[in-house]
Amino acid sequence: MAYSDKVVDHYENPRNVGSFAKDEPNVGTGIVGAPECGDVMKLQLKINETGVIEDARFKTFGCGSAIASSSYVTELVKGKTVDDALQIKNTHIVEELSLPPVKIHCSVLAEDAIKAAISDWKTRHGEAEAAQSAAANE
């Protein structure tokens, strides 16, 4: 199977590889997929007080298309609000990277990773705010 130039570029020069500390309240972590399925993506988003994604990191176990999808997503979400990021559809990733039909699941996983990371942030952010207001009330 021949890979598109963009997939090769993201695979060879992945953007934003790495990890943030998981316990920071402004970081949301999404881990999707499973090792026995051959794909696991970890996407982390650093989200500021106004709900804007300031930074992103990823680590991916998976084929070149899975790595490229997650690498591309880290670029795509930066600067977006949480609400805008939740609107990203896998078809956008498919088009950008020219993924063949057999690799569409990689883009679905990347979309899921965004949702999982934001959901984690919302949970933890809510907890942090609750803790703050609780502290203020004491």
Partner: protein, 405 residues
């Protein structure tokens, strides 16, 4: 891109220049039809085919007339299994084979089951990929007409105990077929000593051309008969009609002659290269696992799982090296290797497997380059792998709650 190192010799091999030289005159000079009985062109072609039959038969102690030429090992497997089932349908309909066989055997058996022509027992294998001869014996019924067990596995290189299985087949008077595509020319084969009645193999795995294979069909002690799959001119003792591929057959003959002459030295050389490859990789990387048997395997075969690194992504990084992967992503089915699964290799590790197939034209320099590239790419991809990070943090990947699709 500079030179690409070919290390996928279980898939196919480069034609040896000595084989090609032997073939060339049969395209342009001696281009006769070996079935033309009344002129020199036909006689020359027939003579070449007869010489090839002798070269081939000598490699595994058969009689020249027992060699039936085909288009390759897939056709040979089909002809052996379907031919026996059809011809001996009055006698029985049960086949014993194993789960790790090549698809040419497994899918042939499945087609016969679907058509209601055979019942098939698919024997399990142990963690090394070995079939237990006792399991073969226990699976036999009074309706069993064929045992089909491959010689050496194409993915993991495990070598089956053919001699023991052949003895069981002889005891019970059941035909024994072996798909020896990966074994013939690389491992000593003696159809008499090993009790083999039918054997499939092909030229392109032993430095000959693609499109030419053969089926060994025992002619006495006992004589095996087959119903042909194609009707036509009655070539090859009526078992396989069709004008013979004379240049291909000359190539197969020459390839067998070379394999016989060089087998011992070549096996020793390949074993040394494999040790160099294996030690070079495993000495520098942790969490690399060998798939298949540690010693009872083809000298040129090394199948490794690189935990936490998906196989296709590793192949993509090794773009100047031709190897193959048991990863699902390299197949159309999205299922990882059924062979590794049968060994009990978890799907997580099956996705990370790479098959190295060393061959006649690989050198120590090739191996050193491959070691360097593999180590570099595995390290790079592990730095990018969430699984490697989690494992290093002490998270148990087996019990972690994955968000499955």
């Amino acid at each position: 891109m500079g030179r690409v190192i070919y290390m996928d010799n279980h898939a196919t091999t480069q034609v040896d220049p000595r084989v090609m030289d032997a073939m060339l005159p049969y395209f342009t000079e001696h281009y006769g039809n070996s079935a033309s009985r009344n002129h020199k062109f036909g006689w020359d072609a027939e003579g070449a085919v007869d010489r090839a039959r002798e070269q081939i038969a000598r490699l595994f102690n058969a009689r020249p007339k027992e060699i039936i030429f085909t288009s390759g090992a897939t056709e040979s497997d089909n002809l052996a299994i379907k031919g026996v089932v059809e011809f001996y349908k009055e006698k029985g309909n049960h086949i014993v084979t194993a789960v790790t066989e090549h698809k040419a055997v497994l899918d042939t058996c499945k087609a016969l089951e679907r058509a209601g022509k055979a019942q098939v027992t698919y024997l399990p294998v142990d963690t090394y990929g070995l079939v237990d001869p006792d399991d073969v014996r226990a699976a036999l019924t009074d309706r069993t007409i064929l045992i089909s067990i491959m010689h050496a596995n194409n993915e993991i290189g495990t070598i089956a105990p053919l001699r023991e299985i052949g003895r069981i087949a002889k005891d019970k008077g059941i035909f024994f077929h072996s798909d020896a595509t990966q074994g013939v020319g690389k491992l000593p084969v003696d159809v008499e000593a090993m009790g083999i009645d039918l054997m499939s193999f092909t030229a392109h795995k032993i430095y000959g051309p693609k499109g030419c294979g053969a089926l060994y069909v025992r002619s006495k002690g006992p004589r095996v008969r087959l119903t042909p799959m194609m009707d036509g001119g009655g070539h090859e003792r009526g078992m396989r009609s069709g004008t013979l591929n004379v240049p291909g057959i000359v190539g197969l003959g020459k390839a067998c002659e070379l394999a016989a002459a060089e087998m011992d030295t070549e096996a020793a050389r390949l074993l040394e290269l494999r040790e160099r490859l294996s030690q070079g990789i495993m000495g520098q990387l942790d969490e690399v696992y060998l798939n298949g048997h540690p010693t009872q395997r083809l000298a040129g075969n090394l199948n490794l799982s690189f935990a936490f690194v998906e196989g296709e992504s590793l192949l993509m990084g090794l773009k100047d090296i031709a190897v193959s992967s048991g990863s699902a992503c390299t197949s159309a089915t999205l299922e990882p290797s059924y062979v590794l699964k049968a060994l009990g290799v978890g799907e997580d590790l099956a996705h990370t497997s790479i098959r190295f197939g060393l061959g006649r034209f690989n050198t120590a320099e090739d191996v050193d380059h491959v070691v360097e590239r593999v180590v570099h790419e595995v390290r790079r991809l592990r730095d990018m792998s969430p699984l490697y990070e989690m494992a290093k943090e002490g998270i148990d990947l087996k019990t972690f709650q994955w968000a499955r699709e």
